[in-house]
Symmetry: C2
């Protein structure tokens, strides 16, 4: 964890989406080279967020959307009474901050779970360039829509799955996302604590811990602290949706 990423001096190194290895994942796939050049100017600057630091906080005004280049972050919705709930975990290629467009204020905290680097994309600029490049515009809409779709999945999970299903679904989701980014899909580091997993899944940390132990006893996974290996992915898949949902 916590790979130091201070190699990049954001003032000196010109940010360039056209040469960014993430450009297929991130906001701008399938553009002509001319369009890519225009997009390059979108990314205002890069920003390094050290582990534990906030990328943004709930309540502050929206300045930009943030595309994650490296690292791992969580977003937390805040209760009035001070408690918080993890709304999502975000990694390379994900776009953050879209919840703030509606009110112009961020609704959640964004906290780095390891040292991370993000590209700042001023919303105004994204919108004005969108008006010139239809495919960029449509892709932006698709990304927002996918966020809605993701949320629907979580609502399904929280509303109708028991703890084992939730955790299995969570691990498979992480696995799939790591795999899609070229990392191992069956062996990875959990960047978050049991409590954060529990908060995300609507469970207590003890339940998360117990269920992980249970999975290990069944030979589905091998877990030691934050290091996780999926040893029987089909078994996990069977667990999700198959078994008795609560609704």
């Amino acid at each position: 964890m916590a790979i130091p990423l201070r190699i990049i001096d954001p003032d000196k190194l010109k940010t360039a989406c056209s040469t960014c290895s993430l450009h297929e994942l991130c906001l701008f796939p399938g553009l002509s080279t001319a369009e890519m050049k225009a997009v390059d100017h979108l990314v205002d600057r890069r920003r390094v967020v050290k582990r534990g630091d906030y990328l943004f906080r709930a309540g502050v005004n929206l300045h930009s959307l943030y595309a994650i280049r490296t690292g791992f972050l969580k977003s937390c919705v805040l209760h009035e009474d001070g408690r918080e709930q993890v709304a999502g975990f975000h990694m390379m290629g994900d776009l953050m901050g879209m919840d703030a467009i509606g009110t112009n204020q961020h609704l959640c905290d964004a906290v780095a779970l390891e040292d991370s680097e993000v590209c700042e994309i001023p919303l105004k600029d994204l919108e004005s360039l969108s008006r010139e490049i239809p495919s960029l515009q449509h892709h932006f809409h698709r990304i927002m829509s996918r966020e809605i779709a993701r949320d629907y999945g979580i609502m399904l999970l929280l509303g109708s799955m028991r703890s084992e299903e939730r955790l299995a679904a969570f691990l498979l989701n992480l696995s799939q996302r790591f795999g899609a980014r070229g990392y191992s899909a069956h062996e990875f580091h959990l960047r978050m604590t049991r409590e954060e997993i529990g908060s995300y899944l609507g469970l207590k940390l003890e339940t998360v811990s117990r269920t992980l132990s249970h999975f290990q006893a069944q030979g589905l996974i091998s877990v030691q602290n934050k290091h996780l290996r999926i040893t029987n992915i089909e078994g996990l898949q069977e667990l999700v949706g198959q078994h008795g949902c609560r609704t």
Copy 2:
């Protein structure tokens, strides 16, 4: 319930956002009259959806977004194993179908809970007009963003509230939305069954029924079948968030 709305012949009556009483709620507030005229052509046609009928089904290709003029609908996400979960209840002024932009296929069923009337807005046309009218573009983004924000709220509810809090939050949300649309905020008809409420809130229908009875015994509400009256709105508000959340 079930007010017959077949008065309108969608082929004859020209749809017109500029004269629509919903235009402040719906997609297009604060436009110049010239811009309104352009927007008028956006709305392809109106469509009547009778109670129990589908506005769209999961899996079908996205044609249009739908702005609700009158009526009441639910959207249901589908499990692979056939079970479904209500993802939202939608009323006058709400926009539906945004979850489908990402994959170009609807992710959920949309079912009318009473006879309803919607405006069809072809996405292509909305996007192309958005490119010409920046304020329309931004407003569309705000609407999508608000859907994300709404989902965050539901995740919070499902992940950290107990049944009483969930139901209180649900009733207050309905109240607030009816109030914002000029209807009574303290007395209204529940368009959905206990089972649908339960599905939305991650509870069983028996729990919903019991909790409503409990609220009534406490003098917070008065409920008879689908007719609901909030008699102590502060009491409901206290219940939400104050009392022991589970996270």
